[in-house]
Symmetry: C2
Subunit: 242 residues, 2 copies
């Protein structure tokens, strides 16, 4: 079984359409390459109770949980409080984190900025040579900021911890539509029930009508499924295999 | 109280990073303009039980629910079954929908394509002059396809049903950082507790350091809050007000 991950995005700015999330998109691609199965993404408002409920549910359901957003010095930054409540813990100021922030702000570390040194009691700090401010971890929950540049820098610094056996991907591009393909894909899936198979129609693409993706962690199984599907269709239905 | 909406995106292709969602982004912007409050977005896999659980929860929690994806002729299109299970209903073939599909496929309507005429028993069909195939609605749940062009065409055809009193937005761009602004924003929020206020730092923008958004449905309240915040800061901290 692949390890699973869940992503909780925190931010009214996403729900009100002011900002387009880039972090879940980034994590989904990264985890696929790492061989980890992202099972769910949620976007919730900047409200402590809603964050707490979502984080608690995700923490119980998936191997790893990642939050994005809601960490900072302002009134709408309530993720730490939400994560603390999810685990029934108090919020405390972490001396190590305060020290890291002092390095960043060099004497301009006021009370508002010191809010960023607050963590749920007992939180672990994941440090790395590539990071000035470490990643806050509580149980299986990893807390990341929403700013995409910082999010990526922090995730990249710790991502090797999550590497699993990768998914292998083959793609077939078809000249015929989904209505024609469906029965053949279904037949292949009956023979290869463990195959992960997606079917993505294009309505304005001149090159092909449907892209079918086949995935597995087992090279032999994947190749068998691919050959099974290809054999079910006439050669002229296939644009290319990749 | 503003009406609330929840969005459920269905698709392994989003979770595995193959496709970047455009539909929730579109809906969030549209709903903001319509004056509707989007309270949550979830992305779940193409699995009947998970879709059913999510749709049932959203249906109870929000005024309106919108699903995107998982409707089509192939094995991974299980949204209708999931929505039916959420409401404890059977899946049946709708004669009106079958007729609409016949218009689209003109004699090429095979069994796989007829799957797209299946609906939860008792579903309502929202027709419009601008649509060939109507929108399937069950209770407060509106089922949309994942293909962005079709999603938008269908939503635009029915969106006036959801119009409320709009949110009004003002924005202030600051030359000073969040660490300096936080206490002033907090003070304004103590005087204007109903204000919706967001604070969005920029780290590489040469023009400003923080964009603060102020929103309300009440013009007088919004203007009062804006003036309150502006009065707390020296004029040279402000780049512009919009």
């Amino acid at each position: 079984m692949a390890k699973t991950a869940g992503i909780v995005l925190i931010g009214n700015e996403i729900l009100s359409g002011k900002i387009v999330d880039q972090n879940a998109v980034y994590l989904c691609r990264e985890f696929r390459q790492l061989g980890v199965d992202v099972r769910k993404i949620s976007v919730v408002p900047d409200e402590v109770d809603l964050i707490a409920r979502e984080v608690a549910e995700f923490s119980g359901a998936y191997d790893w949980v990642f939050t994005s957003g809601g960490v900072g010095p302002t009134h709408d930054d309530v993720t730490i409080e939400g994560v603390a409540r999810a685990f029934g813990r108090r919020v405390v100021r972490d001396p190590g984190l305060a020290l890291s922030l002092e390095q960043v702000y060099q004497g301009r570390l006021n009370e508002a900025r010191l809010k960023m040194a607050e963590v749920p009691e007992g939180a672990e700090l994941l440090a790395s040579d590539h990071l000035i401010v470490p990643v806050v971890v509580v149980g299986n929950v990893h807390v990341f900021p929403g700013v995409p540049e910082i999010f990526r820098r922090k995730f990249d610094a710790i991502k090797e911890r999550f590497r699993e056996r990768p998914y292998l991907l083959r793609m077939v591009f078809f000249r015929v539509g989904e209505g024609t393909l469906a029965e053949h894909i279904n037949a292949t899936l009956r023979s290869f029930p463990e195959l992960l198979c997606g079917s993505y129609p294009e309505f304005t693409n001149p090159e092909y009508k449907v892209r079918v993706t086949l995935e597995s962690k087992e090279p032999g199984y994947l190749e068998g499924a691919l050959q099974d599907l290809l054999a079910r269709l006439p050669a002229d239905a296939i644009v290319r295999v990749q």
